[in-house]
Symmetry: C2
Subunit: 292 residues, 2 copies
Amino acid sequence: MADYILGVDGGGTGCRATIADTSGKVLGTGQAGPANIMTDMDTSVVNILSATDAALLAANLPVHSYSRITACLGLAGANVSGVAAQLQQALPFANSSVVSDGIIALQGAIGDADGVVVILGTGSVYISRRNNSVTMKGGWGFKVSDLGGGARLGQKLIEESLLVHDGIYKRTPLSSALLKHFDNEPHAIVRFAHDARPNDFGQFAPLVFEYAAQNDPLADKILKQSVETIEAALDASMHDDQPVLSLIGGLGALYGPRLSVRYQPRLRTPQADALTGAVALAAKLYTQTAQS
Amino acid sequence: MADYILGVDGGGTGCRATIADTSGKVLGTGQAGPANIMTDMDTSVVNILSATDAALLAANLPVHSYSRITACLGLAGANVSGVAAQLQQALPFANSSVVSDGIIALQGAIGDADGVVVILGTGSVYISRRNNSVTMKGGWGFKVSDLGGGARLGQKLIEESLLVHDGIYKRTPLSSALLKHFDNEPHAIVRFAHDARPNDFGQFAPLVFEYAAQNDPLADKILKQSVETIEAALDASMHDDQPVLSLIGGLGALYGPRLSVRYQPRLRTPQADALTGAVALAAKLYTQTAQS
């Protein structure tokens, strides 16, 4: 049996795996449940191997043939000290590298270039590569960070709409749309917010962009504030010698045109997704280990 | 046995009761567990009666002598439709009135005057009385409201300090103090924030005021923003013919001097606490029912 490479993209909502030949040609993909390595290492290992088996199966390769696989796994929480090393030891692959999910996203979006990638999904994370050194900012979670992410946009929209309901701020079409969603009943909002997870707040983020396209004053205000936080983080992350900037995640394409003119010349459409980035990094690892 | 009046101040953390004679003279007080009438009506009734019994006991009156009692209960969540009426029916007192905790706080702080009372504790609520009509704003909870409350101040402090940690904002003595509290370890902050309740965030609010007294730029920025939200709510709550403004709750006295000059002439130290307000309202109810 020949050697294979494996890329894994995993986090709290699930993990996806792609098996490829050593030239990088994709042979099969698979998915499985969450890989929350900070809170549940054992289940994470089970799900990572289950996604791997699904990929092997899809590629018509024997499952459990781990000893010929060189793997790169990009996982949320892998930057927490000790956790990545612990997982690496538990994995049965010939070689494996466990990195933060930001690293595979960076590789997928801009390849080997120097530059900055911003993940703008439910949360917001800034990943900067410069002279082979990678630094990350943000991504500390909904409650105390990630001001550019969809969860905070949705939360802010609800907050402002309640102030409109209370007669403190002026009504706009967007605040009316949000309040109508909750039947103009603030107690329904309170009940929603009590149990809401970041994703639940994030569902309202597209509404903000939709109304901003119609120059809704509340939508403009919310996005102006979040773009300011994104640009402050960019200014701290990006140097003149980093020619590429790429915004990824569900809101990346929506935010792009809203960044100030000075960022526009560097903006690039992402080349590929994070899973593809993991496969590319696994291929690099294979080349390195084959040479050593 | 003579008639008595009872005031109760209750919410999610506990309830307190005061028994008084019909002239308003306090005879005894007692306390018991939470009265969360929105989520657990049965337990609330048990705890309200248990606090009442403790007050009767302290007054050397026979416990369970409910049929001679006229009561006013101020409870968090009583403004949710139907809940107050449901509790009122379940109570064994001769007469009882169930009102929002804001109503007894208003009565305690400014008596019968027209004016505005702001509860600035973990959350923030605005209660306005004008020509015998009472309106309330805010108080929808930590996640989507209560921008002037201590929980939001503490959350904002942590958020800004993480941005300092990431090199996005400049360090100030306050951000250094906050980060040092978490051993300069952002993952410790993430773990804290994951399980933190509003009270847990609120513990950092006094730190913001403490550093603002030393003109810390971050403390000034955080308080400037929260004072703006408080003043916007005041401007929507207060009319020229409402001569009195009183800030109550743990942060009320700290916020007072920070309000703009135009609010200062109306500012009054609160006359009494919410429990005393409940007793006063129970006395009014007794007079009304005795006359009818």
